[in-house]
Amino acid sequence: MNFYKKWFWPLVMPSLLLFTMVILYPFIMGLVNSFLAWRGTYYFDPDTGTRATSMFKSFVGFANYKEAFQDKRFISALVYTVKYTFIAVIFVNIAALALALMVTTITKRSGLYRTVFFLPNMLGGLALGFIWQFIFQIIFTDILFSPDALYLPFLRYMTQNSNKALFALAMLSTWQYAGYMMIIYVAGLNTISADYYEAASIDGATYWYSFRKITIPMLMPSFTIVFFMTLANSFKLLDQNVALTDGEFGTRLLAMQILRTVKDTSPPNYGKAQAQAVIFFILVAVITLTQVAITKKKELEM
């Protein structure tokens, strides 16, 4: 063990160096800036009403945070993001699990299906957002679900309505990520020994019974991962939001709100944007850590 001990710091050093340069130092600087009247290219001195001669003269305490919480747009973006995360996590999980179950039940061509379902994940968010914008605005609204064809008003004008857009975004996300999560569930399903199912069917169990009693408990580790990832990703969604609706009609998610805060103010209030980002981070951390703790506990119980 001494062998390893000697080499610990040298081998960890490169990663720590990168980590510090790219994440730690900027994060701390950002944290500091959230307490200052930072304007992106200079610091503002609230006492003199002009450019601050030094960073410290622009200290504003918690003013940025207060402004952030009082900002109606920030709060509504927050609420909207929570709503979206809720829907997306459900959609993606159900789709991924269903696909995984189907794919593992059949024997022929399962590889082909897996290939197809995973393909969307390889493609980039921004470009696909444009394509799906086209799909929702023209294909759904004018062609497939118009009054002349299969009239389904809910599926029309989805990008122009705050509530419908939640589902539009969720559909996009599901299309893009279900395949990836499916792979994780498939891996999890494959670790369940067939013996369990055989034993259960000999005892006369139905499909749903063995699903509830065998599949679900043994999938908990996979479920933890998938849930964690979809939760965090949904909360942080940006590219697709920009490309699909650009936040119009009340469809601004939190990540976009932070980005656009500086556009909404003149001179641009980067201090406030940074405060929002810090709040964002705390929220993401709290939610995901809670979720991991809960599911880990459930794992142990099962």
Binding site: F3, L11, V22, L99, L119, G124, I138
Partner: protein
């Protein structure tokens, strides 16, 4: 008596197999429909890359009236396809190489050297996965510019830093399951640390390394915001950036679909090619990563 039982159980079996067959057929139907739905946007991309603007809007689902390649070639020119491809490929490759090397040795030594230092460092890396990009975006760019690294090189370093957390996490979980035995034997044989790592440890990490390479390549290749802020105004851009700028300059108002569709199509062709060739490894990599975590 015996005969009766045999006959009954045979017909029961037939019934059972028939039900199973129907179930399988239904499943196949369902899966095929879902597969078609999954591929539909790509079909859209394909057919609309041969149409002009008004045809795209009037009949987006149909086959093009004529197979003119002019839109594709125009799009390729507008987004400087080959140069952007080169730029994106080299940035992605360098970043992934950096990530693999740095995170694998860090994770390995953290697992082998049990102790509080290891745990704390590991927790730091994992916690960083929760930091949204916005929280570090502006200070990061400014800092890198101060050290004169607001360039493609700096971009690679940034990707290295951002990819660390997840990769260390993946390697860490995997290394835990690699037995010490082989390494202990190597120590006895008098290996030094580098030999041990290169010849003993790395080969064992092959499958998780594939995962790390695949996952990181995917998000780096498709990333938009970071390249935009770091090298956005330089003449050499990544594919995604070219796409973004081509759209802005061509259609300041409205959507130039006749440019967007072919441009998106050719920008995903490299990905699809790589995917089709390597999908076995990619899928295996992700499932392995999932199990080990």
């Amino acid at each position: 008596m015996k005969e009766l039982t045999v006959v009954t159980s045979e017909s029961m079996n037939e019934h059972y197999f028939l039900k199973k067959k129907i179930k399988k057929v239904l499943l196949h139907v369902a899966l095929t429909l879902i597969a078609l739905y999954t591929l539909a946007p790509l079909w859209l991309l394909l057919v609309n890359s041969f149409k002009n603007q008004s045809e795209i809007i009037s009949s987006p689902l149909g086959l093009p009236s004529s197979f003119t390649f002019s839109y594709l070639t125009n799009a390729a020119k507008e987004i400087n396809f080959f140069r952007a491809l080169l730029v994106t490929a080299s940035i992605t490759a360098s970043s992934v190489l950096l990530i693999v090397i740095v995170s694998s040795i860090a994770a390995w030594i953290m697992v082998r050297n049990k102790g509080t230092a290891s745990t704390i460092v590991f927790m730091c890396f994992v916690a960083a996965m929760l930091i949204p990009f916005q929280a570090v975006m502006y200070p990061l760019i400014q800092f890198f510019d101060d050290v004169r690294l607001k360039s493609a090189t700096g971009l690679v370093l940034m990707y290295g830093g951002f990819g660390l957390s997840m990769s260390v996490f993946l390697y860490h979980g995997f290394v835990k399951s690699v037995p010490l035995g082989v390494e202990e034997a190597a120590t006895i044989d008098g290996c030094n640390i580098f030999q041990m790592y290169i010849h003993v440890v790395m080969p064992l990490l092959k499958s998780i390394t594939v995962t790390v390479i695949v996952l990181n390549s995917m998000w780096i290749w498709n990333d938009y915001l970071l390249p935009f802020l770091v090298i956005g105004n330089s003449p050499t851009k990544t594919l995604v950036l070219e796409l973004y700028f081509a759209r802005i300059t061509a259609g300041q108002f409205g959507n130039p679909w006749q440019l967007i569709f072919p441009a998106v199509l050719i920008s995903i062709i490299p990905i699809i090619i790589v995917y089709l060739f390597l999908q076995k490894y990619i899928v295996k990599g992700i499932s392995d990563g999932a199990i080990k975590s």
